[in-house]
């Protein structure tokens, strides 16, 4: 069974640019979660999507947004990039709402210069 996949693996952007990260969940999983892992800050919850709807949001500004498609894949968009957005962005999926076990992808490493 294929795990959670993410693309691209690495990305370099400059301040003020916009970026889109992509995630495909494990087959059969309907919930997708996004986390940010910045140096020294640990894993921080960003967004949760289930059945195409945004269900929960972490303490991040509105320039962090996303969506979930009918096939349950998801995009994370970050507008007006700032230097502190440099981090590993992790996507996780779970079987359904209330299924606590989340499985993570390899992440997209974003560097903002």
């Amino acid at each position: 069974e294929a795990g959670v996949t993410q693309s691209p693996t690495h990305l370099i952007k400059t301040r003020g640019q916009q970026v889109t990260l992509r995630c495909s969940p494990i087959s059969g999983h309907t919930s997708v979660y996004w986390y940010q892992q910045a140096l020294g800050l640990g894993l921080q919850f960003l967004l949760w999507y289930d059945e195409g709807e945004e269900r929960n949001r972490g303490n991040f500004p509105p320039r962090f947004s996303g969506r979930q498609f009918p096939n349950y894949s998801s995009e994370l968009n970050v507008n007006a990039l700032e230097l502190e957005d440099s981090a590993l962005y992790l996507c996780a999926s779970s079987f359904s709402v209330g299924q606590e076990t989340q499985y993570f992808g390899p992440g997209t490493r974003l560097l903002v210069l």
């Binding site: 919930s31 709402v97 606590e100 076990t101 993570f104 490493r109």
Partner: protein, 109 residues
């Protein structure tokens, strides 16, 4: 107060030693506890999970929960260099996971 607190280490042990990792949590309503392992430049992988107080074993790994003290532990017996990684405790909270800071472990051959 953070929901989950974890000593970031780092921890360096010789091969064969027992590794002991700990987290504390603030909300006594938490019911479900997980440990993830994250190798350098990779995503976290689920190592163990437990619902209840007491011990749960899986090979060389033992997860322990003490709900009265709001304390969770992970023990690694007969540690191997391949166990060198960052270990994160995680607790489901409103459908998201709240993570500890992660403890970086190095097992020296």
């Amino acid at each position: 107060q953070k929901e989950v607190e974890q000593d970031p280490g780092p921890l360096s042990v010789p091969e064969g030693a027992i590794v002991s990792l700990n987290c504390t949590y603030s909300n006594s309503a938490f019911q479900y506890f997980m440990w993830y392992r994250q190798y350098s430049r990779k995503g976290p992988e689920l190592l163990m999970y437990t619902y209840s107080s007491g011990n749960k074993e899986d090979g060389r790994f033992t997860a322990q929960v003490d709900k009265s003290s709001k304390y969770i532990s992970l023990f690694i017996r007969d540690s191997q260099p391949s166990d060198s990684a960052t270990y994160l405790c995680a607790i489901p909270n409103d459908y998201k996971l709240s993570f500890g800071a992660g403890t970086t472990v190095t097992v020296r051959a």
